[in-house]
């Protein structure tokens, strides 16, 4: 995809901003204004990253964290879409479950992490379960809203054109919910990482969260920061992948750049 010159210039400015922040950090810690013990040093952080990736030591940990994240993301999304479609289309079930859904959603679900650790042990499954509970509700609420928000004129029109209940679901409710699903997936990516990393903090033997916890235990702030950088980059990459799929599937939406016929 070709970028417009304005977009390219903006990107240059954005990278410039990053460079300025890192430079300030470098200058302040080298000059001793900020204590390197508490704030780390950019060159040492970079050295850590080179070391981790150079020796391959990071890959085992990163692999575990990414696996947990992806499993939580996919399973949470599927469950959220299924539940959202179901409740959106059956008002009785929605009314029945409404107070429970509100309660579970209001609860800070991170507190479930110890329970999951007890039930599923310290392996990946307790983290995946935690991630699922976080992802599920974001996706669920959006799909539920998307199904209920379908323009009634569109539903009536499809019915008059002869759509059966199943065809309404496939040709009307599902595509309508899909645009809502994608807006929720961006938030869900972050939540899947939260589930994995918080789960690893609370008890694990592998993963980037475990790595950060270890570093924190030995007051190695540079390693903590390096771990954060790795997680942030991974989350950005996953978010970017979601955007790519979104552009492809939601071509019909106004404002999509690659619509082309204008």
């Amino acid at each position: 995809m070709r970028r417009a010159p304005a977009t390219r210039r903006l990107l240059a400015w954005q990278l410039g901003l990053l460079a300025v922040v890192v430079l300030c950090w470098y200058a302040l810690t080298e000059a001793g204004v900020l204590s390197p013990f508490f704030f780390g040093r950019p060159l040492v952080v970079a050295g850590k990253l080179v070391d981790w990736f150079g020796s391959g030591a990071i890959f085992a940990h990163l692999g575990v964290t990414l696996l947990e994240t992806l499993l939580a993301f996919v399973a949470g999304t599927l469950l959220g879409v299924g539940a959202g479609l179901w409740l959106g289309l059956s008002p009785f079930a929605a009314a029945l479950l409404d107070p429970y859904i509100k309660a579970v959603n209001a609860m800070p679900r991170v507190v479930l992490a110890p329970i999951f650790a007890m039930w599923f042990g310290l392996g990946i499954w307790s983290k995946v379960l935690l991630g699922i509970t976080l992802v599920f509700f974001i996706v669920f609420f959006n799909v539920y809203q998307g199904v209920k928000d379908v323009n009634p004129a569109i539903v009536d029109n499809a019915r008059m054109l002869g759509a059966s209940r199943r065809q309404l679901l496939r040709f009307v409710y599902w595509p309508s919910a899909l645009s809502w699903v994608f807006s929720s997936l961006h938030a869900a990516v972050g939540m899947a990482f939260v589930g994995a990393v918080v789960g690893e903090y609370l008890g694990s033997a592998k993963g980037v969260g475990y790595l950060i916890l270890q570093a924190e235990g030995s007051f190695d702030i540079d390693a903590v920061l390096a771990g954060i950088v790795v997680l942030t980059v991974c989350a950005l990459l996953l978010d970017h992948a979601v955007t790519r799929v979104e552009r492809r599937l939601l071509r019909w939406r106004p404002g999509q750049r690659d619509s082309g016929t204008h």
Partner: protein
């Protein structure tokens, strides 16, 4: 046998204030191949009337017969052109037109071929790949018209379909509607709040009373010659006479009604 027959149809809607009666004791007949226009003030239950004929609303009392058979559930013989934009925003113009055929079990390739054919008939050849948001208001109405007509309904229900269009586009669409209708003479119920539009298009104009509890007040045959050009027809002396007659009956009914409410 009338294509559509309503006997004593009453429709009420429940509401917080005890609800209201949209239609009271409506009798109406539409002959096969007749172009019937229904005029009435805003909020007089015109759309409800159409929804009853479509089977989207079940009357609380009275009877609906389609070609002699009582209507149960959706009216499968009817095509409905809504006032609001009701195209599938996520489907291209071609897939929108093909939708009705796909729902009815026509193979997708065949449905698309027939859709392209209909797009050409409504003057949108080559626009099949576009999505609704890439079409103007008039083009969307054309797609909606093709979407309804491709299913070849016996009865065509139209709810102020052109009210959102500018004057030129509107006359253009009205003329195209008339020529499409002339080709195979479906029964049409066309709803509008515009008396001129009703006279220009219809074989007969039914005037509805103001709501709540509205019903047809008067029925006027429109004896303008066909085929008609709506812009030309509006300039004919007979058009002005008809317009005057209809206004008079409308005014008399409104006065009668006012007196009745004052006495009550």
């Amino acid at each position: 046998m009338p294509a559509v027959e309503l006997r004593g149809v009453t429709v009420s809607f429940a509401g917080a204030d005890g609800g209201h009666t949209a239609l009271r004791d409506v009798d109406l007949e539409v002959a096969p191949g007749e172009f019937l226009c229904i005029v009435g003030p805003t909020g007089c239950g015109k759309s409800t009337l159409l929804n009853v004929v479509a089977g989207l609303v079940t009357p609380d009392a009275g009877e609906v017969r389609i070609a002699g058979a009582p209507l149960a559930g959706l009216n499968r013989a009817a095509g409905y052109l809504f006032q609001a934009d009701a195209l599938l925003p996520w489907a291209s113009a071609r897939d929108n037109v093909a939708a009705g055929l796909v729902f009815r079990g026509v193979a997708r390739d065949e449905a698309r071929r027939r859709a392209e054919d209909w797009l050409a008939r409504v003057g949108l050849a080559g626009c099949g790949e576009r999505y609704p948001h890439q079409l103007s208001g008039g083009m969307k109405k054309r797609v909606a018209l093709a979407q309804t007509l491709v299913c070849d309904p016996k009865i065509l229900l139209m709810d102020e379909p052109f009210s959102a269009l500018d004057v030129q586009t509107r006359s253009l669409m009205e003329n195209e509607l008339l020529s499409l209708w002339a080709a195979d003479r479906k029964s049409v119920i066309f709803i509008t709040h515009d008396l001129e539009e009703a006279i220009a298009l219809g074989d007969r104009v039914v005037v509805m009373s103001a709501g709540p509890g509205s019903r047809p007040l008067a029925s006027h045959a429109i004896d303008l010659p066909r085929p008609r050009d709506v812009t030309e027809a509006r300039l004919a002396p007979r058009f002005l006479e008809l317009q005057r007659e209809l206004w008079h009956s409308l005014r008399d009914e409104v006065r009668k009604r006012q007196r009745a409410t004052e006495e009550a």
